[in-house]
């Protein structure tokens, strides 16, 4: 323990490098927050100052809320992300548990399909999926925003892994002997045991969905239905006169939910990221 406490040159170098990395990670956020109180001439200047000249008045935020339906955009993102999260978690549990604990004819095919969908990137079907949703009349709707990511091969895979590791067969068998139906076993025994994993999956899904960009960009043209990512892109449209302070204010508002979720649950989220990275590869 003594050796750990003592400051050797190696340790100083190591910790200094890691703190530098922390600084580099955080600096753009600090710039973003300070910038949301600044005017263009303070942001784009050869003699920059750290603090905003006119103090920390919320005028950029007030201006933004007055001139742009940013709160509506936030609400859209919230609705879409929550719906996606609930759906992904629910269906991942159903399918992941089925694959982990039942030996049903067709299981092999289901596994192959899930691994294949994990590997074929979404981008490859961007065009045909757009055509499909247009023909179904689902563009510019919440359903159209949620549906493509309502079930996730990643989530199924993750739940299957956890179910294999954490649900003892005896537990299920005991419940079955007492005459519990399969759905009841799932609801009152499996789901509670799996809840840490399900919460991790839900948190990760929420963040991914909140940050989603490409599909909302093409699925929605009505600015009332913009998610916050798409609103940001429009606000920063370089073909218009951009008020950077106002754009940064919108950026700050848009990252608050993610920062809150990550601040509260960063340990669970990092666990899910590692678990989901494909231990079987």
């Amino acid at each position: 323990m003594q050796a750990l406490r003592r400051l050797t040159p190696a340790k100083v170098l190591l910790l200094a490098s890691l703190w530098l990395v922390v600084l580099v990670s955080v600096a753009p956020f600090v710039y973003m927050i300070l910038g949301s109180f600044k005017e263009n001439y303070e942001l784009l200047t050869n003699s920059p100052e750290l603090l905003p000249r006119d103090g920390f008045g919320l005028r950029k935020y007030a201006d933004l809320i007055e001139s742009w339906p940013i709160l509506r955009n936030m609400l859209n993102s919230l609705v879409v992300s929550l719906a996606t999260t609930v759906s992904v978690t629910f269906f991942s549990l159903l399918v992941g548990y089925s694959l982990a604990k039942f030996d049903f004819p067709g299981k092999g095919i289901v596994m192959v399909i899930i691994i294949a969908t994990l590997m074929v990137p979404f981008e490859v079907r961007l065009v045909p999926q757009y055509v499909l949703f247009r023909d179904l009349g689902l563009l510019n709707s919440y359903v159209g925003l949620v549906l493509p990511s309502a079930i996730s091969a990643f989530g199924i895979f993750l739940v299957r892994q956890f179910a294999q590791e954490s649900i003892p067969d005896e537990l299920i068998e005991a419940a079955r002997l007492e005459g519990a139906s399969e759905f009841r076993i799932l609801r009152s025994i499996v789901a509670p045991v799996m809840s840490p994993a399900l919460i991790s999956l839900a948190l990760l899904t929420f963040i991914t969905s909140w940050n989603d960009f490409l599909w909302p960009l093409i699925a929605v043209t009505d600015s009332d239905l913009f998610t916050v990512s798409i609103a940001l892109k429009s606000l920063a449209d370089p073909t218009t006169q951009v008020d950077y302070g106002r754009v940064l204010a919108a950026a700050v508002i848009s990252v608050i939910p993610v920062l809150v979720v990550f601040g509260l649950f960063n340990r669970k989220i990092t666990e899910a990221v590692i678990a989901g990275s494909g231990r079987e590869s």
Partner: protein, 311 residues
Amino acid sequence: MATTSVGDPPTPRPGRAVQPSTWQRMKRNRHVYLWIAPWAIFFLVIDLYPTLSGFRYSLFEWDGFSDMSWVGLGNYQRILDDALFWKTTGNTLVLLVLIVPLRTLLALVLAAMINSALVKRKQFFTAFLMLPNLTAIVVVAIVFQILLTTNGGLVNAALQALGFDGVPWLDSTNWSKVSLAVLNLWKATGYFTLLMLAGLQQIPKSVYEAAAIDGAGPVRTFLSITVPQMRNVILFVVVVSTIFMVQNIADALVLTQGGPQYSSTPLMYYMFINAFESFDLGYAAALSVVLFGLMVLLSGATFAVNRKVGE
């Protein structure tokens, strides 16, 4: 019961397992079919059908509205003659070279540093490393756009204060790709560090103890133990990193708008432009197929290199 993996009872006659018919197994598991039915429908409608129609569209000329007209492999022929296709494919490859090796190396070194016994609050550092990765790419691109503005952006202001010339980050055909690389390094290195760290923690401590007894220093230990032990994880990171890069579009779309003169338009973005700006859907579908082929090729190449190295 013999077929569910849950608590198989002893078979009636030892040595001769009674195999229930497929039909019996299906009947016993009928609730499972009900549970996976929504997924199956989802797969057919949202995954399989569009994937197949993508291949079909690639054989037609179509603006998305009027009648489709059959061109056979015409779109693919057009791709071969399309200077912009070659240019954007080249951009994607240059970006890969700029980003993937450096990001992989940085991730491995950072992970090894965090994994060091000298660092106590590992969770603290990994949390901050993950932060950029969990931030929306649009937000990151907007912040970088302001930071990297040629006239008066903070980065150039700092360079000038230190006596260097400003760099035309977003306004030059050479630097636009570098700017995209900087953004991608900042955003995703932490994610890969986390994957590397998870891999490092799987390496048995005894291997390191043996090296310490042999008197190996930290650099030597890193090169002769960590790197070989981590080969599979590194390979995984390279493949995922490559796939991320090839799929990426939002960064270029917001940071540089692909410019100047298509210098920072990756192939994926070129496909997007054809589909949603030129409404050349058949051609865009053909580009998607090529893009998919490229991804398979790049992953395959990585695995092949790994096998060579392993021999």
